[in-house]
Amino acid sequence: MATANLNGRAEPGISKYCITFGVSLAALILAGGVLVFSYWQHVELLHEGDRVGIRLERLGLTDQEGAQHEPR
């Protein structure tokens, strides 16, 4: 087994780990962004959803099936 580095690069495996690290870090940042986005989407649900839920109950529409919008 060769122990000497003939092409002059001290540690040939390092670039593949760098790339994996870089891509994983980017994925981690993306996941963080997605989580922040879903947090604000959830905050809107808590605020706006509360208001809409009350309106729905007051209009007596809660007993109707599904939330699908049916064009009339």
Partner: protein, 311 residues
């Protein structure tokens, strides 16, 4: 440790963390996006419903229709209103309703969960916890205190009639009688879509208010008794402006609109005619006009609530 080993470890750790984070983020965003869609669909459904109902109400409107109440019109000889005497006579039957808002907690009483299609799962629970921490809900909950929110009127025995939006979202209710006595109260039931609630008070029954069997005609005088701005047992006079079918706030139904001086806190208070008979309950305001629930309908809904409670 060689540099290669260090990079390998860092790459592996970041790779695993990214995999886990993407899985969690995917789960969370799938839930919140589905909930956002359900919310948008429901909002559109409400708008469609209101447009449709408004068109129906507009098509049915005429000078005759706005004069038509839910009971026969009051054709008895007019009585000159003696408001001071009438207020004195009605007060023993009137109560001021006090309540404490339900706590934020972890959004358990949030109405968003009642929207069809909105899901509750581990992602929404975790995001709600973050929100509670972010906005310091426990501190907000600790600040809650009892305050007078509405009015009500005794109808029979220990039963008091009020409107549903006064009792919804309240954790504990008490009433203050005209004699200045605090009494505990419990909600027998509430019909949110018709804005009527029936509550039971502890202690001796209050004298029931006489109930009209006819509705005042358009233009006739009425007096509203309630708790404007939390000041109980206040009165305001006005006239019957019109009768109409409204679909903006509640399930489409017939209401009596009055011009009496009414602000927030008057809700649930009784409206009496010039003979001191109850004709309606204060519900919602539109500028200077206030939508009130005709007393016959309020009583019919209360009877239904009582039947449901007994079952």
């Amino acid at each position: 440790m060689s540099r290669v080993k260090a990079w390998r470890r860092a790459a592996l750790a970041t790779y695993i963390a990214a995999g886990a984070a993407l899985t969690l983020a995917g789960y969370a965003v799938a839930t919140t996006a589905a909930n956002a869609n359900a919310l948008r669909d429901t909002r559109e459904r409400i708008e469609d419903f209101q447009r449709e109902q408004t068109a129906i109400a507009e098509n049915a409107i005429s000078a005759a229709s706005v004069r038509r109440g839910t009971l026969p019109p009051d054709t008895r000889p007019p009585v000159a209103p003696d408001w001071p005497a009438l207020a004195e006579r009605a007060m023993p039957s009137v109560v001021a309703l006090a309540g404490i808002n339900k706590p934020y907690g972890l959004a358990e009483s949030n109405h968003a969960w009642r929207i069809p299609g909105v899901q509750q799962n581990a992602a929404t629970a975790a995001l709600t916890r973050v929100r509670a921490w972010h906005r310091d809900w426990p501190k907000e909950d600790a600040k809650r205190r009892q305050r007078i929110i509405c009015g009500g009127v005794a109808v029979a025995g220990n039963q008091v009639l009020t409107v549903a939006h006064c009792v919804e979202g309240q954790e504990a209710l008490r009433v203050r009688t005209a004699a200045g006595e605090w009494r505990d109260a419990r909600v027998i039931g509430a019909d949110v879509s018709r804005d009527v609630a029936l509550i039971e008070i502890e202690g001796d029954p209050l004298p029931p208010i006489p109930v009209a069997e006819v509705m005042p005609r358009q233009g006739q005088d009425v007096m509203a008794i309630g708790s404007p701005g939390g000041y109980g047992f206040a009165v305001g006079v006005g006239i019957v402006a019109w009768y109409g079918r409204d679909a903006a706030m509640l399930s489409p139904d017939d209401f009596m609109l009055v011009t009496a001086s009414i602000i927030g806190g008057n809700s649930g208070g009784v409206v009496v005619n010039t003979r001191g008979e109850a004709v309606s309950l204060v519900s919602y305001g539109y500028g200077i006009y206030t939508q009130t629930v005709p007393i016959d309908r309020a009583q019919a809904v209360a009877a239904e609530i009582e039947r449901r409670a007994v079952r």
